[in-house]
Subunit: 365 residues, 2 copies
DNA sequence: CTGAAAGCGCTAACAT
DNA sequence: ATGTTAGCGCTTTCAG
């Protein structure tokens, strides 16, 4: 439809899908210059009302659809945000994505999502992919923010990013200079501590932490620290954590082992809800009733937890709000990139958690 | 860093993130023309080995990162696929996304994901968003493929797309002309029939279907039809389905109502797994044991179903394979757009399902 | 307030 | 095998 193209390809293209109506076509139809047509959409205040109307009419008549690639290439910024999450199959991140999508769309930003599976090689590959798309910034969750190759890379290349779920403390780079890493999360340690204290308040003394890839996950370690805080605060000796390799596979064997000896734990604190649901099933298979024989506390607050019976007791994170807030933080940073010192949004942004001490936690037998 | 830009902005930009090293810079450094540098990456066979090496060296030295926006704009195709799924919070679609992402990445395609929440207004908005990004095609799941505004729009604009989960039958457009719609799914009706037959084989006679937004979902209706087939095949009268407004909220009231009268059902066939898990919880709250007092069969085969205790009996769909296959089909269509009649991949592509008659299905009391 | 023109980074004819 | 050149669709100085 574009005049230039039409003259070059007179015979082809009967009804193309991208239907190639360009702004130039609109300008022509509205009898204004390309520049004016562009301004109607980008800076409406710079153009007279009547002219703008003509352009809008022409655009509608031709079913003009702006080609975002054009603007993105021209502008120094793409208004695309990259998102890297470990997986969507854990509802935590799926819920988070909802917040990310809503917030980004509302702000006129586009998104590009990739999942990493916590696999470092894949992380690097996916980040490179996002970078090639020239995303303006990223929202991501990594296994361990204090020891992440991709985070170091992003720092090195000064790509703006905001971590979701990972909670940064005062971070110092390898060179010894303090680095401004931004994160949005709940207070993992304090909230875990609170959760375990609720367990203790219910009468539990022998509480064991169950975790997935414990060594690899900074959150698991922070939550374990919270557990230790709670135990020590009550003069109890923290017990060694149980580490289950996979979040989804049934690890009945390890649980059975634990329940076979004397002084078996009366409560489990699982570092995430999916794990908790798996542990509860394992316990049931051992003939144990939850919460009568043993209590289970989860962490995450996925919607599913409220759906099962008995409802899963857990530390509830505002998942979609974490995503939305991460986007907000990122956009804030993007807006003030030039500002020399932007300390307003610096560091770890903590969102409130909620303790849901429901069905799966009761008094010890 | 690009020469032209450097001359214009001599003082600014010390260390930009997109670090603006262009192919022109690489060409300059490698002492070749821009075209040759480009060919090294796009059509390596067209350039001499030694020259290619020089370019690669220069690219590495300058840490050149191709700007995909450039190529995408230039080419008539963006190699971006749009994906619209109802939500990721149902693991079915999260699992599907995994297949989509893996397949697309492996084929060098980029992705743009949006969720619709089955909300028609939002669907239109998100589709428009994808179209503005000039996606080459789409993979999507809609509530009802036979009555979908966005699908009609995509047909009208001849945007290539492949449905996931929606199973098209011989579709006829409002104008009476047969339309080639493509879908990847299991055989909803036959698989549901099989599932219900397994229930009947276990001795059940009073089987009730539980569904979400029944009228809105083509799959729910197809699965219900399968239920009817199974019942009739055994000389049983199909019962009216129970429709629960929300997939996640506990709808104990409706279930209780059903279980209060005489001739209560001995088995429930839920049109999706999440629903099934909710129903099981409701049943438990009514003091009923599953499967001893009542059996429950789900549909979807999400990983979570195998994790709970007792394991959820269900019709297992190959979710990630559905996503991967949808991408493959789409790419196939994209490759053969010009072919006049491409009947090889036409219509509904059916993937095999698996029946998992596990824990939650037993003999009637 | 509007127009002309110069690109954003890249690829694809069309030469050579 | 390599170089020259003309754009992809859009925004944005710079002039009127």
């Amino acid at each position: 439809m574009s005049t230039s193209r039409r003259s070059v390809l007179p015979s082809i293209a009967p009804a193309e899908p991208g239907h190639g109506v360009t702004l130039a076509d609109v300008a022509l139809a509205a009898k204004v210059s390309l520049a004016t047509a562009s301004r109607v959409f980008s800076h409406p205040q710079l153009v007279r009302e009547a002219t703008a109307q003509r352009v809008h009419d022409a655009a509608k008549r031709l079913s003009f659809r702006p080609n975002l690639l054009g603007s993105k290439l021209r502008a120094q910024q793409t208004r695309i945000l990259g998102v890297m999450l470990p997986t969507l199959e854990n509802a935590v991140f799926a819920e988070c994505w909802r917040g990310i999508e809503e917030e980004a769309m509302a702000s006129g930003y586009s998104l590009m999502l990739v999942t990493s599976g916590y696999d470092p090689a894949r992380e690097r590959e996916r980040i490179e992919y996002l970078l090639r798309h020239r995303v303006d910034g990223m929202v991501l969750t990594v296994a361990d923010a204090a020891d992440s190759i991709v985070l170091d890379q992003l720092d090195r290349e000064s790509v703006p990013y905001v971590l979701a779920y990972n909670q940064v403390s005062h971070h110092v780079s390898p060179q010894g200079t303090p680095r401004g890493r931004y994160s949005v999360s709940v207070d993992n340690r304090a909230s875990a501590c609170e959760g375990v204290k609720a367990l203790i308040a219910a009468g539990h003394r022998r509480i064991v932490v169950v975790s997935g890839a414990f060594m690899a996950s900074d959150r698991a370690r922070q939550r374990f620290a919270g557990y230790e805080d709670a135990m020590r605060a009550h003069g109890l000796a923290p017990l060694a954590p149980v580490c289950l390799p996979s979040h989804t596979a049934s690890n009945a064997a390890q649980i059975r082992e634990l329940m076979a000896h004397a002084d078996t734990p009366t409560a489990f604190f699982c570092t995430n809800d999916l794990l908790a649901i798996g542990v509860i099933s394992d316990l049931k298979r051992l003939g144990l009733r939850v919460p009568r024989d043993v209590s289970v506390l989860g962490y995450d607050g996925i919607a599913l937890g409220a759906l099962v019976e008995p409802p899963l007791a857990t530390v509830v994170q505002p998942n979609s709000e974490i995503g939305a807030q991460a986007v907000r933080q990122l956009l804030h940073r993007l807006k003030h990139r030039n500002t020399i010192h932007d300390d307003a949004a610096e560091g770890a942004f903590l969102l409130p958690h909620i303790l849901r001490v429901a069905g799966t936690v009761g008094a010890p037998p």
